[in-house]
Point group: C2
Chain length 308, copies 2
Protein backbone atom coordinates (compact mmCIF):
# COMPACT_ATOMS: atom_id res chain seq x y z
CA UNK A 1 0.00 0.00 0.00
CA UNK A 2 2.96 2.35 0.57
CA UNK A 3 3.95 1.68 -3.04
CA UNK A 4 0.44 2.54 -4.19
CA UNK A 5 0.51 5.73 -2.14
CA UNK A 6 3.82 6.70 -3.75
CA UNK A 7 2.57 5.76 -7.20
CA UNK A 8 -0.51 7.97 -6.63
CA UNK A 9 1.72 10.82 -5.47
CA UNK A 10 3.92 10.54 -8.56
CA UNK A 11 0.90 10.32 -10.87
CA UNK A 12 -0.72 13.47 -9.46
CA UNK A 13 2.53 15.31 -8.76
CA UNK A 14 0.91 16.33 -5.49
CA UNK A 15 2.27 15.14 -2.13
CA UNK A 16 -1.03 16.17 -0.63
CA UNK A 17 -3.68 14.50 1.46
CA UNK A 18 -7.06 16.11 1.96
CA UNK A 19 -8.29 15.84 5.54
CA UNK A 20 -11.99 15.00 5.48
CA UNK A 21 -12.81 16.44 8.91
CA UNK A 22 -16.34 17.66 8.29
CA UNK A 23 -17.41 19.77 11.25
CA UNK A 24 -20.97 20.99 10.81
CA UNK A 25 -19.80 24.60 10.82
CA UNK A 26 -17.84 23.92 7.63
CA UNK A 27 -20.88 22.55 5.81
CA UNK A 28 -22.78 25.09 3.71
CA UNK A 29 -26.28 26.00 4.87
CA UNK A 30 -28.01 24.63 1.78
CA UNK A 31 -26.46 21.18 2.28
CA UNK A 32 -27.56 21.05 5.93
CA UNK A 33 -31.02 22.41 5.07
CA UNK A 34 -31.63 19.68 2.52
CA UNK A 35 -30.40 16.93 4.85
CA UNK A 36 -32.50 18.19 7.76
CA UNK A 37 -35.57 18.46 5.54
CA UNK A 38 -35.17 14.82 4.66
CA UNK A 39 -34.10 13.37 8.04
CA UNK A 40 -34.94 16.10 10.55
CA UNK A 41 -32.47 17.77 12.90
CA UNK A 42 -31.30 14.33 13.98
CA UNK A 43 -28.07 12.35 14.03
CA UNK A 44 -29.18 10.84 10.72
CA UNK A 45 -29.70 14.33 9.35
CA UNK A 46 -26.27 15.48 10.47
CA UNK A 47 -24.68 12.34 9.04
CA UNK A 48 -26.45 12.86 5.71
CA UNK A 49 -25.16 16.45 5.58
CA UNK A 50 -21.63 15.21 6.27
CA UNK A 51 -21.92 12.59 3.55
CA UNK A 52 -23.21 15.01 0.88
CA UNK A 53 -20.48 17.49 1.84
CA UNK A 54 -17.73 14.86 1.62
CA UNK A 55 -19.01 13.51 -1.68
CA UNK A 56 -19.03 16.93 -3.31
CA UNK A 57 -15.45 17.62 -2.18
CA UNK A 58 -14.17 14.22 -3.25
CA UNK A 59 -15.93 14.54 -6.62
CA UNK A 60 -14.19 17.88 -7.19
CA UNK A 61 -10.70 16.88 -6.10
CA UNK A 62 -10.11 13.13 -6.54
CA UNK A 63 -8.26 13.47 -9.83
CA UNK A 64 -5.79 15.97 -8.34
CA UNK A 65 -4.82 14.15 -5.16
CA UNK A 66 -3.34 10.81 -4.12
CA UNK A 67 -5.08 10.32 -0.80
CA UNK A 68 -7.62 11.45 1.76
CA UNK A 69 -7.48 11.36 5.54
CA UNK A 70 -10.88 11.20 7.20
CA UNK A 71 -10.61 12.13 10.89
CA UNK A 72 -12.82 9.57 12.64
CA UNK A 73 -13.51 11.80 15.67
CA UNK A 74 -15.57 14.11 13.48
CA UNK A 75 -17.82 11.16 12.61
CA UNK A 76 -17.72 9.47 16.01
CA UNK A 77 -19.23 12.58 17.61
CA UNK A 78 -22.49 11.67 15.85
CA UNK A 79 -22.41 8.14 17.29
CA UNK A 80 -23.38 5.18 15.12
CA UNK A 81 -24.91 7.34 12.36
CA UNK A 82 -21.67 9.28 12.05
CA UNK A 83 -19.59 6.13 11.90
CA UNK A 84 -21.77 4.74 9.13
CA UNK A 85 -20.86 7.81 7.08
CA UNK A 86 -17.18 7.37 7.99
CA UNK A 87 -17.37 3.88 6.48
CA UNK A 88 -19.32 5.13 3.47
CA UNK A 89 -16.68 7.83 2.92
CA UNK A 90 -13.84 5.29 3.14
CA UNK A 91 -15.55 3.06 0.58
CA UNK A 92 -16.39 5.90 -1.78
CA UNK A 93 -12.86 7.30 -1.76
CA UNK A 94 -11.42 3.87 -2.46
CA UNK A 95 -13.80 3.49 -5.42
CA UNK A 96 -12.41 6.78 -6.70
CA UNK A 97 -8.87 5.35 -6.61
CA UNK A 98 -7.76 7.31 -3.56
CA UNK A 99 -5.60 5.89 -0.79
CA UNK A 100 -7.46 6.25 2.51
CA UNK A 101 -5.58 7.12 5.68
CA UNK A 102 -7.88 6.59 8.65
CA UNK A 103 -6.91 9.24 11.17
CA UNK A 104 -7.93 7.18 14.16
CA UNK A 105 -4.96 7.63 16.55
CA UNK A 106 -5.76 4.31 18.21
CA UNK A 107 -3.30 2.53 20.43
CA UNK A 108 -3.67 0.00 23.20
CA UNK A 109 -1.90 -3.21 24.16
CA UNK A 110 -1.77 -6.78 22.95
CA UNK A 111 -5.10 -8.26 21.93
CA UNK A 112 -6.77 -4.86 22.24
CA UNK A 113 -4.43 -3.20 19.77
CA UNK A 114 -4.92 -6.25 17.59
CA UNK A 115 -8.69 -5.69 17.69
CA UNK A 116 -8.25 -2.07 16.57
CA UNK A 117 -5.89 -3.19 13.81
CA UNK A 118 -8.35 -5.84 12.67
CA UNK A 119 -11.27 -3.43 12.78
CA UNK A 120 -9.57 -0.73 10.73
CA UNK A 121 -7.04 -2.48 8.51
CA UNK A 122 -7.73 -6.19 8.67
CA UNK A 123 -10.46 -8.78 8.70
CA UNK A 124 -12.27 -10.30 11.65
CA UNK A 125 -13.05 -13.99 11.82
CA UNK A 126 -16.70 -14.90 12.50
CA UNK A 127 -17.09 -18.67 12.51
CA UNK A 128 -15.84 -19.80 9.12
CA UNK A 129 -16.14 -16.38 7.47
CA UNK A 130 -14.07 -13.18 7.56
CA UNK A 131 -15.22 -9.58 7.30
CA UNK A 132 -13.54 -6.20 7.06
CA UNK A 133 -14.96 -3.66 9.52
CA UNK A 134 -13.82 -0.23 8.34
CA UNK A 135 -11.12 -1.25 5.87
CA UNK A 136 -8.93 1.84 5.57
CA UNK A 137 -5.55 1.57 3.75
CA UNK A 138 -3.49 3.22 6.48
CA UNK A 139 -4.21 4.20 10.07
CA UNK A 140 -2.58 6.64 12.47
CA UNK A 141 -1.43 5.02 15.71
CA UNK A 142 -0.47 6.44 19.13
CA UNK A 143 2.83 4.96 20.40
CA UNK A 144 2.61 5.91 24.11
CA UNK A 145 2.08 2.29 25.20
CA UNK A 146 5.27 1.03 23.50
CA UNK A 147 6.00 -1.99 21.27
CA UNK A 148 3.19 -4.09 22.76
CA UNK A 149 0.76 -1.57 21.34
CA UNK A 150 2.41 -1.19 17.94
CA UNK A 151 3.37 -4.73 17.02
CA UNK A 152 -0.20 -6.05 16.64
CA UNK A 153 -0.75 -3.30 14.07
CA UNK A 154 2.41 -4.37 12.25
CA UNK A 155 1.23 -7.98 12.15
CA UNK A 156 -2.09 -7.07 10.60
CA UNK A 157 -0.37 -4.67 8.18
CA UNK A 158 1.94 -7.44 7.07
CA UNK A 159 -0.99 -9.75 6.28
CA UNK A 160 -2.96 -7.08 4.48
CA UNK A 161 -0.12 -5.10 2.88
CA UNK A 162 -1.31 -1.99 4.66
CA UNK A 163 0.53 0.61 6.70
CA UNK A 164 0.49 2.88 9.72
CA UNK A 165 1.66 6.36 10.63
CA UNK A 166 2.86 6.60 14.21
CA UNK A 167 2.51 9.86 16.12
CA UNK A 168 6.02 11.17 16.68
CA UNK A 169 5.81 14.95 16.96
CA UNK A 170 2.31 16.37 16.69
CA UNK A 171 1.52 19.81 15.26
CA UNK A 172 -0.22 21.34 18.27
CA UNK A 173 1.30 24.06 20.48
CA UNK A 174 1.44 21.89 23.64
CA UNK A 175 2.89 18.83 21.89
CA UNK A 176 6.18 19.64 23.59
CA UNK A 177 4.85 19.06 27.12
CA UNK A 178 5.78 15.39 26.88
CA UNK A 179 7.17 14.86 23.37
CA UNK A 180 10.00 17.40 23.71
CA UNK A 181 11.19 16.36 27.17
CA UNK A 182 14.85 15.41 27.17
CA UNK A 183 15.86 11.81 27.72
CA UNK A 184 19.61 11.34 27.97
CA UNK A 185 19.94 14.71 26.30
CA UNK A 186 17.58 13.89 23.42
CA UNK A 187 13.88 14.73 23.14
CA UNK A 188 11.31 11.95 23.50
CA UNK A 189 10.12 12.44 19.89
CA UNK A 190 13.58 11.42 18.68
CA UNK A 191 13.46 8.29 20.81
CA UNK A 192 10.06 7.48 19.31
CA UNK A 193 11.39 8.31 15.83
CA UNK A 194 14.19 5.78 16.30
CA UNK A 195 11.67 3.12 17.20
CA UNK A 196 9.68 4.01 14.07
CA UNK A 197 12.81 3.47 12.00
CA UNK A 198 13.49 0.19 13.80
CA UNK A 199 9.92 -1.12 13.45
CA UNK A 200 9.88 -0.06 9.81
CA UNK A 201 13.17 -1.64 8.75
CA UNK A 202 11.78 -5.14 8.54
CA UNK A 203 8.69 -4.10 6.67
CA UNK A 204 9.70 -2.30 3.50
CA UNK A 205 7.94 -1.47 0.26
CA UNK A 206 10.05 -0.76 -2.84
CA UNK A 207 11.80 2.29 -1.44
CA UNK A 208 9.89 3.32 1.69
CA UNK A 209 8.62 1.47 4.73
CA UNK A 210 5.04 0.54 5.53
CA UNK A 211 5.68 2.20 8.89
CA UNK A 212 5.42 5.96 8.63
CA UNK A 213 5.35 8.82 11.11
CA UNK A 214 3.28 11.89 11.90
CA UNK A 215 5.37 15.05 12.31
CA UNK A 216 3.72 18.49 12.42
CA UNK A 217 4.49 21.11 9.75
CA UNK A 218 4.65 23.61 12.59
CA UNK A 219 8.02 22.17 13.69
CA UNK A 220 10.26 22.21 10.57
CA UNK A 221 13.56 22.03 12.49
CA UNK A 222 12.42 18.91 14.25
CA UNK A 223 11.16 17.59 10.93
CA UNK A 224 14.68 17.95 9.53
CA UNK A 225 16.15 16.00 12.42
CA UNK A 226 13.47 13.30 12.23
CA UNK A 227 13.88 13.03 8.44
CA UNK A 228 17.49 12.02 9.16
CA UNK A 229 16.58 9.57 11.92
CA UNK A 230 13.86 7.85 9.88
CA UNK A 231 15.12 8.04 6.27
CA UNK A 232 12.79 5.29 5.02
CA UNK A 233 9.64 6.39 6.85
CA UNK A 234 7.00 8.31 4.97
CA UNK A 235 6.13 11.38 7.01
CA UNK A 236 2.51 12.46 7.23
CA UNK A 237 2.65 16.20 7.89
CA UNK A 238 -0.36 17.90 9.47
CA UNK A 239 -0.51 21.57 10.36
CA UNK A 240 -0.20 23.11 6.88
CA UNK A 241 -2.44 26.10 6.21
CA UNK A 242 -4.97 26.71 8.95
CA UNK A 243 -2.54 25.63 11.69
CA UNK A 244 0.17 27.98 10.39
CA UNK A 245 2.56 25.81 8.33
CA UNK A 246 3.68 27.20 4.95
CA UNK A 247 5.15 25.65 1.79
CA UNK A 248 8.74 26.57 2.65
CA UNK A 249 8.37 24.99 6.11
CA UNK A 250 7.71 21.66 4.42
CA UNK A 251 11.00 21.28 2.57
CA UNK A 252 12.88 19.60 5.46
CA UNK A 253 10.30 16.81 5.61
CA UNK A 254 11.10 15.64 2.08
CA UNK A 255 14.03 13.54 0.92
CA UNK A 256 16.28 14.47 -2.00
CA UNK A 257 14.18 12.20 -4.24
CA UNK A 258 11.26 14.61 -3.75
CA UNK A 259 9.43 11.86 -1.87
CA UNK A 260 9.14 10.88 1.76
CA UNK A 261 6.42 13.25 2.90
CA UNK A 262 2.73 13.81 2.34
CA UNK A 263 1.19 17.02 3.59
CA UNK A 264 -2.30 17.17 5.03
CA UNK A 265 -4.68 20.08 4.81
CA UNK A 266 -8.18 19.79 6.22
CA UNK A 267 -9.99 23.05 6.91
CA UNK A 268 -7.88 24.88 4.31
CA UNK A 269 -9.33 22.66 1.58
CA UNK A 270 -12.74 21.49 2.73
CA UNK A 271 -13.82 24.89 4.06
CA UNK A 272 -11.99 26.88 1.37
CA UNK A 273 -15.23 28.58 0.32
CA UNK A 274 -15.31 30.27 3.76
CA UNK A 275 -11.97 31.99 3.10
CA UNK A 276 -11.78 35.41 1.51
CA UNK A 277 -9.47 34.07 -1.18
CA UNK A 278 -12.06 31.62 -2.47
CA UNK A 279 -15.24 33.49 -1.54
CA UNK A 280 -15.82 34.27 -5.22
CA UNK A 281 -16.97 30.69 -5.81
CA UNK A 282 -19.91 31.19 -3.47
CA UNK A 283 -21.29 28.78 -0.94
CA UNK A 284 -23.20 26.83 -3.59
CA UNK A 285 -19.95 25.99 -5.38
CA UNK A 286 -17.92 24.94 -2.34
CA UNK A 287 -16.55 21.92 -4.24
CA UNK A 288 -14.96 24.18 -6.83
CA UNK A 289 -13.45 26.33 -4.08
CA UNK A 290 -11.90 23.17 -2.61
CA UNK A 291 -10.51 22.25 -6.01
CA UNK A 292 -8.91 25.67 -6.40
CA UNK A 293 -7.44 25.40 -2.89
CA UNK A 294 -5.90 22.02 -3.76
CA UNK A 295 -4.37 23.50 -6.92
CA UNK A 296 -2.91 26.41 -4.95
CA UNK A 297 -1.52 24.10 -2.27
CA UNK A 298 0.09 21.92 -4.92
CA UNK A 299 1.69 24.98 -6.51
CA UNK A 300 2.89 26.30 -3.13
CA UNK A 301 4.56 23.02 -2.19
CA UNK A 302 5.90 22.46 -5.72
CA UNK A 303 7.49 25.89 -5.78
CA UNK A 304 9.03 25.43 -2.33
CA UNK A 305 10.48 22.04 -3.29
CA UNK A 306 11.63 23.35 -6.69
CA UNK A 307 13.60 26.23 -5.22
CA UNK A 308 15.59 24.30 -2.64
CA UNK B 1 -19.94 11.26 38.43
CA UNK B 2 -16.79 10.64 40.50
CA UNK B 3 -19.00 10.98 43.59
CA UNK B 4 -21.43 8.44 42.18
CA UNK B 5 -18.57 6.07 41.40
CA UNK B 6 -17.33 6.38 44.99
CA UNK B 7 -20.85 5.98 46.36
CA UNK B 8 -21.26 2.79 44.27
CA UNK B 9 -17.90 1.51 45.55
CA UNK B 10 -18.89 2.15 49.16
CA UNK B 11 -22.30 0.54 48.66
CA UNK B 12 -20.87 -2.66 47.18
CA UNK B 13 -17.70 -2.69 49.27
CA UNK B 14 -15.94 -3.68 46.05
CA UNK B 15 -13.38 -1.37 44.40
CA UNK B 16 -13.80 -3.46 41.28
CA UNK B 17 -14.63 -2.77 37.68
CA UNK B 18 -15.52 -5.59 35.32
CA UNK B 19 -13.90 -5.21 31.92
CA UNK B 20 -16.43 -6.11 29.26
CA UNK B 21 -13.91 -7.08 26.58
CA UNK B 22 -15.83 -9.82 24.82
CA UNK B 23 -13.47 -11.58 22.42
CA UNK B 24 -15.29 -14.31 20.51
CA UNK B 25 -13.01 -16.95 22.01
CA UNK B 26 -14.38 -16.10 25.47
CA UNK B 27 -17.98 -16.60 24.40
CA UNK B 28 -19.42 -20.08 25.04
CA UNK B 29 -20.23 -22.18 22.00
CA UNK B 30 -23.96 -22.34 22.69
CA UNK B 31 -24.23 -18.53 22.75
CA UNK B 32 -22.42 -18.21 19.42
CA UNK B 33 -24.41 -21.08 17.91
CA UNK B 34 -27.74 -19.48 18.75
CA UNK B 35 -26.62 -16.07 17.43
CA UNK B 36 -25.27 -17.54 14.18
CA UNK B 37 -28.45 -19.58 13.69
CA UNK B 38 -30.43 -16.38 13.88
CA UNK B 39 -28.13 -13.99 11.97
CA UNK B 40 -25.68 -16.25 10.17
CA UNK B 41 -21.91 -16.15 10.53
CA UNK B 42 -22.01 -12.42 9.91
CA UNK B 43 -20.98 -9.26 11.70
CA UNK B 44 -24.58 -9.06 12.97
CA UNK B 45 -24.27 -12.62 14.25
CA UNK B 46 -21.01 -11.89 16.05
CA UNK B 47 -22.48 -8.71 17.53
CA UNK B 48 -25.55 -10.60 18.75
CA UNK B 49 -23.31 -13.20 20.43
CA UNK B 50 -21.36 -10.42 22.12
CA UNK B 51 -24.56 -8.77 23.32
CA UNK B 52 -26.07 -11.97 24.77
CA UNK B 53 -22.74 -12.76 26.45
CA UNK B 54 -22.48 -9.28 27.99
CA UNK B 55 -26.07 -9.30 29.16
CA UNK B 56 -25.68 -12.62 30.96
CA UNK B 57 -22.55 -11.43 32.75
CA UNK B 58 -24.05 -8.09 33.74
CA UNK B 59 -27.24 -9.79 34.95
CA UNK B 60 -25.15 -12.06 37.18
CA UNK B 61 -22.83 -9.42 38.62
CA UNK B 62 -24.44 -5.96 38.60
CA UNK B 63 -25.49 -6.07 42.26
CA UNK B 64 -21.94 -6.88 43.39
CA UNK B 65 -19.99 -4.25 41.48
CA UNK B 66 -19.90 -0.47 41.12
CA UNK B 67 -18.84 -0.17 37.51
CA UNK B 68 -18.05 -1.80 34.18
CA UNK B 69 -15.42 -0.92 31.61
CA UNK B 70 -16.30 -1.96 28.08
CA UNK B 71 -13.19 -1.95 25.86
CA UNK B 72 -14.40 -0.35 22.64
CA UNK B 73 -11.72 -2.04 20.47
CA UNK B 74 -13.39 -5.38 21.03
CA UNK B 75 -16.60 -3.97 19.53
CA UNK B 76 -14.95 -1.79 16.88
CA UNK B 77 -13.35 -4.87 15.34
CA UNK B 78 -16.83 -5.85 14.14
CA UNK B 79 -17.35 -2.45 12.50
CA UNK B 80 -20.71 -0.70 12.78
CA UNK B 81 -22.52 -3.80 14.08
CA UNK B 82 -20.02 -4.13 16.90
CA UNK B 83 -20.32 -0.47 17.83
CA UNK B 84 -24.09 -0.75 18.00
CA UNK B 85 -23.63 -3.44 20.66
CA UNK B 86 -21.08 -1.25 22.46
CA UNK B 87 -23.78 1.43 22.72
CA UNK B 88 -26.41 -1.11 23.72
CA UNK B 89 -24.08 -2.41 26.45
CA UNK B 90 -23.41 1.11 27.75
CA UNK B 91 -27.14 1.82 27.93
CA UNK B 92 -27.99 -1.50 29.56
CA UNK B 93 -25.32 -1.15 32.25
CA UNK B 94 -26.51 2.36 33.07
CA UNK B 95 -30.07 1.07 33.43
CA UNK B 96 -28.70 -1.45 35.92
CA UNK B 97 -27.23 1.38 38.01
CA UNK B 98 -23.62 0.74 37.02
CA UNK B 99 -21.09 3.48 36.29
CA UNK B 100 -19.74 2.97 32.77
CA UNK B 101 -16.10 3.66 32.01
CA UNK B 102 -15.61 3.69 28.26
CA UNK B 103 -12.14 2.27 27.66
CA UNK B 104 -11.58 4.20 24.47
CA UNK B 105 -8.05 5.58 24.91
CA UNK B 106 -8.83 8.44 22.57
CA UNK B 107 -6.67 11.52 22.37
CA UNK B 108 -6.10 14.11 19.66
CA UNK B 109 -5.84 17.88 19.58
CA UNK B 110 -8.18 20.84 19.84
CA UNK B 111 -11.44 20.46 18.00
CA UNK B 112 -10.69 16.80 17.29
CA UNK B 113 -10.31 15.90 20.95
CA UNK B 114 -13.45 17.94 21.55
CA UNK B 115 -15.30 15.82 18.99
CA UNK B 116 -14.22 12.60 20.77
CA UNK B 117 -15.25 14.10 24.11
CA UNK B 118 -18.62 15.12 22.71
CA UNK B 119 -19.17 11.73 21.08
CA UNK B 120 -18.39 9.72 24.21
CA UNK B 121 -19.23 11.96 27.17
CA UNK B 122 -21.17 14.93 25.86
CA UNK B 123 -23.87 16.01 23.46
CA UNK B 124 -23.55 17.10 19.87
CA UNK B 125 -25.53 20.02 18.50
CA UNK B 126 -27.55 19.33 15.34
CA UNK B 127 -29.45 22.46 14.33
CA UNK B 128 -31.58 23.36 17.35
CA UNK B 129 -31.36 19.91 18.97
CA UNK B 130 -28.69 18.04 20.93
CA UNK B 131 -27.93 14.32 21.03
CA UNK B 132 -25.62 12.05 23.00
CA UNK B 133 -23.63 9.68 20.79
CA UNK B 134 -22.25 6.95 23.06
CA UNK B 135 -22.84 8.58 26.45
CA UNK B 136 -20.45 6.77 28.78
CA UNK B 137 -19.86 8.17 32.30
CA UNK B 138 -16.07 8.15 32.13
CA UNK B 139 -13.58 7.67 29.31
CA UNK B 140 -9.92 6.71 29.23
CA UNK B 141 -7.73 9.26 27.42
CA UNK B 142 -4.21 9.10 25.97
CA UNK B 143 -2.08 12.09 27.05
CA UNK B 144 0.76 11.87 24.49
CA UNK B 145 -0.40 15.02 22.66
CA UNK B 146 -0.29 17.20 25.79
CA UNK B 147 -2.73 19.72 27.28
CA UNK B 148 -4.26 20.62 23.90
CA UNK B 149 -5.52 17.07 23.72
CA UNK B 150 -6.74 16.81 27.30
CA UNK B 151 -8.39 20.18 27.92
CA UNK B 152 -11.28 19.69 25.48
CA UNK B 153 -12.17 16.52 27.43
CA UNK B 154 -12.06 18.52 30.67
CA UNK B 155 -14.40 21.14 29.23
CA UNK B 156 -16.98 18.58 28.21
CA UNK B 157 -16.59 16.76 31.55
CA UNK B 158 -17.25 20.00 33.38
CA UNK B 159 -20.49 20.58 31.48
CA UNK B 160 -21.68 17.02 31.90
CA UNK B 161 -20.29 16.24 35.36
CA UNK B 162 -18.37 13.33 33.89
CA UNK B 163 -14.76 12.26 34.24
CA UNK B 164 -11.70 10.83 32.54
CA UNK B 165 -8.86 8.48 33.38
CA UNK B 166 -5.60 9.49 31.73
CA UNK B 167 -3.06 6.84 30.79
CA UNK B 168 -0.05 7.36 33.04
CA UNK B 169 1.68 4.01 33.44
CA UNK B 170 0.13 1.16 31.51
CA UNK B 171 0.19 -2.47 32.64
CA UNK B 172 1.96 -4.00 29.63
CA UNK B 173 5.55 -5.29 29.65
CA UNK B 174 6.84 -2.72 27.12
CA UNK B 175 5.13 0.27 28.73
CA UNK B 176 8.54 1.34 29.97
CA UNK B 177 9.93 1.95 26.48
CA UNK B 178 8.69 5.52 26.57
CA UNK B 179 6.84 5.92 29.87
CA UNK B 180 9.84 5.02 32.08
CA UNK B 181 12.43 7.10 30.26
CA UNK B 182 14.12 9.56 32.58
CA UNK B 183 13.49 13.26 32.18
CA UNK B 184 15.63 15.40 34.48
CA UNK B 185 16.14 12.26 36.52
CA UNK B 186 12.44 11.39 36.76
CA UNK B 187 10.47 8.96 34.62
CA UNK B 188 8.02 10.31 32.05
CA UNK B 189 5.08 8.68 33.85
CA UNK B 190 5.79 10.87 36.88
CA UNK B 191 5.80 13.97 34.70
CA UNK B 192 2.45 12.88 33.26
CA UNK B 193 1.21 12.07 36.78
CA UNK B 194 2.01 15.62 37.88
CA UNK B 195 0.00 17.01 34.99
CA UNK B 196 -2.90 14.75 35.99
CA UNK B 197 -2.77 16.20 39.50
CA UNK B 198 -2.59 19.74 38.08
CA UNK B 199 -5.46 19.22 35.61
CA UNK B 200 -7.51 17.57 38.33
CA UNK B 201 -7.07 20.21 41.02
CA UNK B 202 -9.54 22.62 39.53
CA UNK B 203 -12.16 19.98 38.93
CA UNK B 204 -12.95 18.25 42.20
CA UNK B 205 -15.83 16.12 43.43
CA UNK B 206 -16.42 15.84 47.18
CA UNK B 207 -13.10 14.20 47.99
CA UNK B 208 -11.59 13.08 44.68
CA UNK B 209 -11.06 14.71 41.33
CA UNK B 210 -12.99 14.09 38.13
CA UNK B 211 -9.56 13.57 36.53
CA UNK B 212 -8.23 10.11 37.28
CA UNK B 213 -5.30 8.05 36.05
CA UNK B 214 -4.60 4.59 34.66
CA UNK B 215 -1.70 2.84 36.41
CA UNK B 216 -1.07 -0.87 35.87
CA UNK B 217 -1.30 -3.36 38.77
CA UNK B 218 1.85 -4.92 37.39
CA UNK B 219 3.90 -1.95 38.64
CA UNK B 220 3.08 -1.60 42.38
CA UNK B 221 6.21 0.39 43.25
CA UNK B 222 5.39 2.96 40.61
CA UNK B 223 1.80 2.90 41.85
CA UNK B 224 3.02 3.88 45.30
CA UNK B 225 4.98 6.80 43.91
CA UNK B 226 2.13 7.94 41.68
CA UNK B 227 -0.36 7.63 44.56
CA UNK B 228 1.76 10.27 46.35
CA UNK B 229 2.06 12.52 43.31
CA UNK B 230 -1.68 12.44 42.54
CA UNK B 231 -3.34 12.14 45.97
CA UNK B 232 -6.76 13.27 44.72
CA UNK B 233 -6.83 11.27 41.50
CA UNK B 234 -8.80 8.05 41.37
CA UNK B 235 -6.55 5.37 39.93
CA UNK B 236 -8.00 2.86 37.50
CA UNK B 237 -5.80 -0.21 37.86
CA UNK B 238 -5.72 -2.74 35.00
CA UNK B 239 -3.55 -5.85 35.03
CA UNK B 240 -5.10 -7.73 37.95
CA UNK B 241 -5.52 -11.48 37.47
CA UNK B 242 -4.83 -12.62 33.93
CA UNK B 243 -2.01 -10.07 33.46
CA UNK B 244 -0.32 -11.16 36.69
CA UNK B 245 -1.31 -8.60 39.35
CA UNK B 246 -2.39 -9.97 42.75
CA UNK B 247 -4.39 -8.56 45.68
CA UNK B 248 -1.33 -7.61 47.70
CA UNK B 249 0.14 -5.73 44.72
CA UNK B 250 -2.87 -3.43 44.81
CA UNK B 251 -2.42 -2.01 48.29
CA UNK B 252 -0.08 0.86 47.23
CA UNK B 253 -2.70 2.18 44.83
CA UNK B 254 -5.19 2.90 47.62
CA UNK B 255 -5.22 5.81 50.03
CA UNK B 256 -5.52 5.40 53.79
CA UNK B 257 -9.26 6.04 53.51
CA UNK B 258 -9.53 2.74 51.61
CA UNK B 259 -10.54 4.70 48.52
CA UNK B 260 -8.64 6.13 45.58
CA UNK B 261 -8.37 3.07 43.37
CA UNK B 262 -10.65 0.84 41.34
CA UNK B 263 -9.25 -2.42 40.02
CA UNK B 264 -10.19 -3.83 36.65
CA UNK B 265 -10.45 -7.45 35.74
CA UNK B 266 -11.61 -8.49 32.29
CA UNK B 267 -10.74 -12.02 31.19
CA UNK B 268 -10.51 -13.17 34.84
CA UNK B 269 -14.21 -12.39 35.30
CA UNK B 270 -15.89 -12.66 31.93
CA UNK B 271 -14.10 -15.86 30.91
CA UNK B 272 -14.01 -17.30 34.44
CA UNK B 273 -15.83 -20.44 33.28
CA UNK B 274 -12.78 -21.29 31.14
CA UNK B 275 -10.54 -21.44 34.23
CA UNK B 276 -10.02 -24.65 36.15
CA UNK B 277 -11.12 -22.98 39.34
CA UNK B 278 -14.59 -22.24 38.00
CA UNK B 279 -14.96 -25.09 35.53
CA UNK B 280 -17.48 -26.75 37.84
CA UNK B 281 -20.12 -24.24 36.78
CA UNK B 282 -19.99 -25.54 33.23
CA UNK B 283 -20.13 -23.52 30.03
CA UNK B 284 -23.90 -23.20 30.19
CA UNK B 285 -23.64 -21.36 33.51
CA UNK B 286 -20.85 -18.96 32.59
CA UNK B 287 -22.68 -16.07 34.27
CA UNK B 288 -22.55 -17.85 37.62
CA UNK B 289 -18.84 -18.53 37.15
CA UNK B 290 -18.34 -14.78 36.57
CA UNK B 291 -20.27 -14.02 39.74
CA UNK B 292 -18.10 -16.38 41.76
CA UNK B 293 -14.98 -14.81 40.27
CA UNK B 294 -16.16 -11.34 41.29
CA UNK B 295 -16.80 -12.57 44.83
CA UNK B 296 -13.32 -14.10 45.00
CA UNK B 297 -11.70 -10.95 43.63
CA UNK B 298 -13.56 -8.82 46.17
CA UNK B 299 -12.37 -11.11 48.98
CA UNK B 300 -8.77 -11.07 47.69
CA UNK B 301 -8.61 -7.29 47.54
CA UNK B 302 -10.51 -6.88 50.83
CA UNK B 303 -8.12 -9.19 52.62
CA UNK B 304 -5.05 -7.45 51.17
CA UNK B 305 -6.38 -4.02 52.19
CA UNK B 306 -7.46 -5.31 55.60
CA UNK B 307 -4.07 -6.71 56.48
CA UNK B 308 -1.98 -3.66 55.67
Amino acid sequence: MIDRLISNIKKTGAPIVVGLDPMLKYIPGHVKKKAYEEYGETLEGAAEAVWQFNKEIVDHTYDLIPAVKPQIAMYEQFGIEGLKVFKRTVDYCKEKGLVVIGDIKRGDIGSTSEAYAIGHLGKVQVGSRTYAGFDEDFATVNPYLGSDGVKPFLEVCRQEKKGIFLLVKTSNPSSGEFQDRLIDGRPLYEVVGEKVAEWGESFMGESYSYVGAVVGATYPEMGKQLRRIMPKAYILVPGYGAQGGKGKDLVPFFNEDGLGAIVNSSRGIIAAYQQEQYAKFGEEHFGEASRAAVEDMKADIGSALGSR
